[in-house]
Symmetry: C2
DNA sequence: GAGTGGTCTAGACCACGCG
DNA sequence: GCGTGGTCTAGACCACTCA
């Protein structure tokens, strides 16, 4: 006999969901439901989601349970809590967390807001996925993909040369003008124009020598080592959505990583 | 009139602590107290700390408040929770999180437990801090420091060459035998023998060419680019405790980084 | 079965932002 | 002054570990 009636004892489901396996705490199920709404664009990047109390009512759970679900989503940078205002869908357009995935910083001074990058689009075309690109993006070889090549310069110095591959299906209609013209992070443009939000990414780093062409675009010699950065970026649910292969000059910048 | 008497209204202090500035939640103060005990070795790495209920009693707060403090410390990898068993002081000797700070992984297969590193100590001596080393370790130029140089090999292939600088005062008596003989992570040895636990670190990465000597130890040519990794590791309270300058071969391995 | 961490609830109050 | 998130409490029950 329980003095406090738990509306959803153990693995039961009020909101309309069921699990088979081990045991899923209520707040995890709530988290899943919120995640589902995020994926399906019920609330757009930058917008506020309903208040904790309202969500608690909707899901028939206590505010504390909703809170724990939101806490985790905020910890994963999917939501952003602002005391006194509400909880918001995170976006790459935020002033504070702009270029969250770019770990290259100038050797002197850490002020990233200072010298903003200038973009030069060298190429932007649609083609068929090669075997390795297809594998990375979970496509089939020959599927349509978009490829862009660009140079990022800081204070007029070309510093990053990168190739970007995107699934052609999702990014239908992306143009060089769009890549060049948008003010702010490219990932913010992806959110605005294609409803695709990059949530996390894996990077593989290597030291390499550039070939003739690469050296040319970076205004260095072929005997200047550069940092090769291969990034695979994911949207919700661990779906890979972008492959990037970049070369970073590290004579005036360095790649900064925080371990904990 | 409050129906529930909060023993420490707002910024008051039960456990014996006071703040001047803005406003410090109770659980933050509790966190500080636990942190203090960790720093002063009240509980050693690997040991269990008192149960939540016991700590709640000691600090005269509710279990929930202690829980939130511990949650944050666990999130920072200072504590490790194990359901049914207790909460433990984190250590670099844990099987699962061994080499947590080493981000170099073999290109094929991610099984880090497989091919364990073989250490070769090339050098281990005491000397006086140069200006840059002193600045990094928050010492004064000329202060005693320990310096070690070693090669890490995987499957017999020399892959990492690194120099390590440590404050001579704290690591008095560290010998080459100790560096070479210890089984397991070097950071675990630091915990055991010197009571120093590395808690977080910053790394700066660059692509460089090795000089003659470096190339020799890594069994490569001077025209093979390598990854330069400068690491500054901190113990509790953001006190810098170790400077490492490593060169990583990236022909068979890569530096893996997870962004989120 | 005792003890530990993990979940869930309900309710009170606080800090913050904004009209 | 209201609404939002943030803190704190007290208590019940669940899941896990180990003797």
């Amino acid at each position: 006999m329980s003095a406090m009636p738990p509306p959803l004892p153990s693995t039961a489901d009020g909101p309309g969901l069921s699990q088979a396996p081990a045991f899923s705490p209520l707040y995890q199920q709530i988290k899943g439901l919120i995640l589902h709404s995020l994926q399906h664009g019920e609330w757009k990047p930058g917008e506020a989601i309903p208040s904790e109390i309202e969500l608690a009512g909707r899901f028939r759970v206590s505010q504390g349970t909703v809170r724990k679900a939101i806490d985790e989503l905020a910890g994963e940078n999917l939501l952003l809590r602002r005391q006194g205002k509400g909880t918001f869908v995170a976006t790459h357009a935020e002033r504070q967390v702009q270029y969250r995935f770019l770990k290259l910083v100038p050797d002197s001074g850490d002020v990233r807001g200072e010298a903003r990058a200038q973009r030069t689009i060298l190429e932007c075309r649609r083609l068929r996925a090669s075997a390795d690109v297809a594998r990375a993006l979970a496509l089939r070889t020959g599927d349509p993909v978009l490829q862009a090549r660009r140079v990022l310069s800081f204070s007029g110095v070309p510093t990053i040369l990168e190739d970007i591959w995107l699934p052609g299906h999702t990014f239908k209609g992306l143009s060089a003008e769009q890549m060049a013209g948008y003010q702010g992070p490219t990932y913010a443009m992806f959110e605005m124009d294609f409803g695709v939000r990059m949530v996390r990414a894996d990077e593989k780093l290597r030291a390499v020598l550039p070939d003739e062409q690469q050296a040319h675009w970076l205004a260095i010699t072929t005997s200047t080592p550069v940092l090769s950065v291969e990034r695979l970026a994911y949207t919700y649910n661990d779906v890979p959505m972008e492959l990037r292969r970049g070369l970073y000059r590290t004579d005036t910048h360095h790649y900064h990583n925080q371990l904990s």
